[in-house]
């Protein structure tokens, strides 16, 4: 009989591997930025504790605003703040930022290219609370909004760097948040994050894994295992869904016999769709197998259980990469 795991509130550490972790990388990065940039304000909709923004609040209590459980107003007020010369970082969960506040993100913020940075917790399947809390289609929804930068970072290092890049970017940004104890995959020394650029982590050959978000960590582990199996597996990390580095994807695919995409998101409208478009537009013929979430609402349960059930683990990437077209 399989072990039954009990649902926890959530934590990436629940499902991360052996890598060291950093606590609340977003909040600490924002607090550091706040000292350099007096125009940064922090906002949340009753999820300050759960979106790691409290280090900023503690450092700058006068520049932190809890708007209550009202995500439309969170985003509208952030737009108003931006129009008076400030740069709001507004946090909530991805489901609420996308599904509930969508019109405000599109019209109040993106239509005028205002410097509002939306930081969205519980991306994809990182909570056991079911469809109400699992932001499984936010990357697609947000990528469809003109002018909105959409970032799905891999680890603690990239979250910190992407937070800084978001502040340096003049327009609006949607940043998926990994909260709590977040694994360190990339060495922080000399790490640079450039909006719209993919990151080649490992050269391909037999198979090329194109991944975004924390699936990149799993892709690297999968590549090690494939290597041991005698398959040369490359990994291209694509943290920005928009702007999308189609050139880097195409170049990488040309050097691989076949492609596997890996994303913590439904398999339509996110990374896989963008990869297929990029390859097809350039006449590059490669089989593309998709690892991602199914086109359905998922139940409640322990995160490790659900991630196995819905096939976004290292095992799933390895199995998919082993299959020949």
């Amino acid at each position: 009989m399989t072990e039954r795991i009990f649902t926890r509130a959530m934590g990436v550490d629940e499902v991360s591997g052996v890598r060291p972790t950093v606590e609340a990388p977003f909040g600490h990065a924002l607090a550091a930025l706040g000292a350099e940039r007096p125009e940064i304000v922090g906002m949340t909709a009753d999820l300050g504790k759960y979106t790691d923004i409290l280090p900023f609040r503690d450092a700058f209590p006068d520049r932190f605003f809890n708007m209550g459980m009202a995500e439309q107003n969170l985003v509208a007020a952030a737009a108003g703040f931006a129009r008076t010369g400030f740069m709001p970082f507004a946090t909530t969960y991805g489901v609420f930022a996308s599904r509930r506040a969508y019109d405000f993100v599109a019209i109040a913020v993106a239509h005028s290219s205002l410097p509002v940075k939306i930081v969205a917790g519980l991306p994809g399947l990182t909570t056991g609370y079911g469809g109400t809390h699992q932001a499984i289609e936010d990357l697609g929804l947000m990528s469809l909004i003109p002018g909105l930068v959409v970032i799905d970072p891999c680890d603690a290092t990239e979250i910190a760097a992407a937070t800084r890049a978001a502040a340096e970017h003049p327009g609006p940004v949607y940043l998926r948040l990994l909260r709590g104890k977040v694994p360190v995959v990339f060495q922080p020394e000399g790490f640079l994050f450039e909006i719209g650029k993919a990151r080649l982590l490992r050269e391909g050959g037999d198979v090329g894994i194109i991944a975004t978000g924390f699936m990149t960590e799993r892709a690297l582990d999968a590549a090690d295992r494939l290597d041991a199996l005698g398959l040369a597996a490359g990994v291209l990390h694509v943290p920005c869904l928009k702007p999308f580095d189609a050139e880097a994807v195409a170049d990488f695919a040309l050097r691989c016999d076949r492609i596997v995409t890996a994303e913590n998101h439904v398999m339509r409208g996110g990374l896989a769709s963008l990869v297929v478009e990029a390859l097809h537009e350039r006449g590059i013929q490669r089989s593309v197998r998709r690892i991602g979430l199914p086109d359905r609402f998922m139940e409640c349960g322990a995160v490790p259980t659900l991630q196995k059930r819905y096939r976004i683990t290292v095992d799933d990437i390895v199995a998919s990469a082993e299959e020949r077209a």
Binding site: N73, G80, F81, R83, T84, G85, D103, A108
Partner: protein, 257 residues
């Protein structure tokens, strides 16, 4: 406004004429702003949440000299800056209106920002009775009160109409709702210039409460024929009627002087 609507042969003349007195009182009396320096950080801001009232805003901004009066005839024409619904690319427009329920929340953010910056500037946000049906309006009202944004004034245009005709959900008692949400609230005839000017003057008080003025307005005010028209949300005027309507407005204007 009649001249503007004559080009397309239609337009939101009813709403425009209904709110015209309020805009006149704001732009030519209450707002501290400089038509020659539209980006001044300490300017008072007027937010037109009902973007389709643009016809009234264009009239006010042209009269103030933000753009030439001659440009008004381009209202609603291809490539005109004077759109049927406001975009913030037109000089003097402080937000994109038209997606109803957006104005008051942005006013909250602006009021918070101005306060944080130490600016004395105030925010006047127009919204409509129909717009109170949008839940975001009340999210914004809650937060305005919570944060004590006494530099913020909600101007609620109660003209009794919305897209499907007469107001489809009863919003009364309007003033009591705003009072209950913590706003210092007045209720006046929005087409009585003396009452509008006096009510706006009272909003200068900064006592920790945001302000609301419930404006009872009449669509098409100043032109009895339009005021009597049933489908006043989007007025269509036959080609032969314009001169007669203009003459009516002229007569009414003289009588009100």
């Amino acid at each position: 406004m009649l001249t503007m609507a004559r080009g397309p042969g239609q337009g939101y003349v009813g709403q425009g004429l209904g709110i015209a007195d309020v805009l006149a009182a704001l732009y030519f009396h209450e707002l501290r702003w400089d038509p020659g320096d539209l980006a001044a950080p300490d300017r008072d801001r007027f937010l037109l949440s009902t973007g389709h009232y643009s016809i009234a805003l264009w009239a006010a901004l042209a009269e103030a000299g933000v753009f030439p009066l001659s440009e008004l005839s381009t209202y609603g024409a291809d490539d005109s800056r004077l759109d049927m619904s406001t975009l913030d690319t037109t000089p003097g427009v402080e937000m994109i209106g038209g997606s109803l329920g957006h104005g008051l929340g942005q006013a909250v953010g602006m009021a918070l920002g101005l306060r944080l910056a130490g600016s004395p500037a105030r925010i006047f946000c127009e919204l409509s009775d129909g717009e109170m049906q949008e839940g975001a309006t009340w999210e914004a009202a809650m937060s305005a009160s919570h944060f004590g944004l006494d530099g913020m004034v909600a101007l609620i245009d109660c003209n009794g109409i919305q897209a499907d005709g007469a107001v489809v959900l009863d919003m009364e008692p309007v003033a009591e709702k705003w009072r209950a949400f913590g706003f210092s609230t007045a209720e006046i005839d929005g087409n009585d210039m003396a009452a509008v000017v006096a009510a706006l003057a009272r909003t200068r008080q900064r006592d920790g409460r945001p302000h609301a003025i419930v404006l009872r307005t009449r669509p098409g005010f100043g032109i009895p024929t339009l005021m009597a028209r049933e489908k006043a949300h989007f007025i269509r005027v036959d080609a032969g009627e314009w001169d007669a309507l203009a003459a009516e407005l002229e007569r009414e204007g003289v009588r009100n002087d």
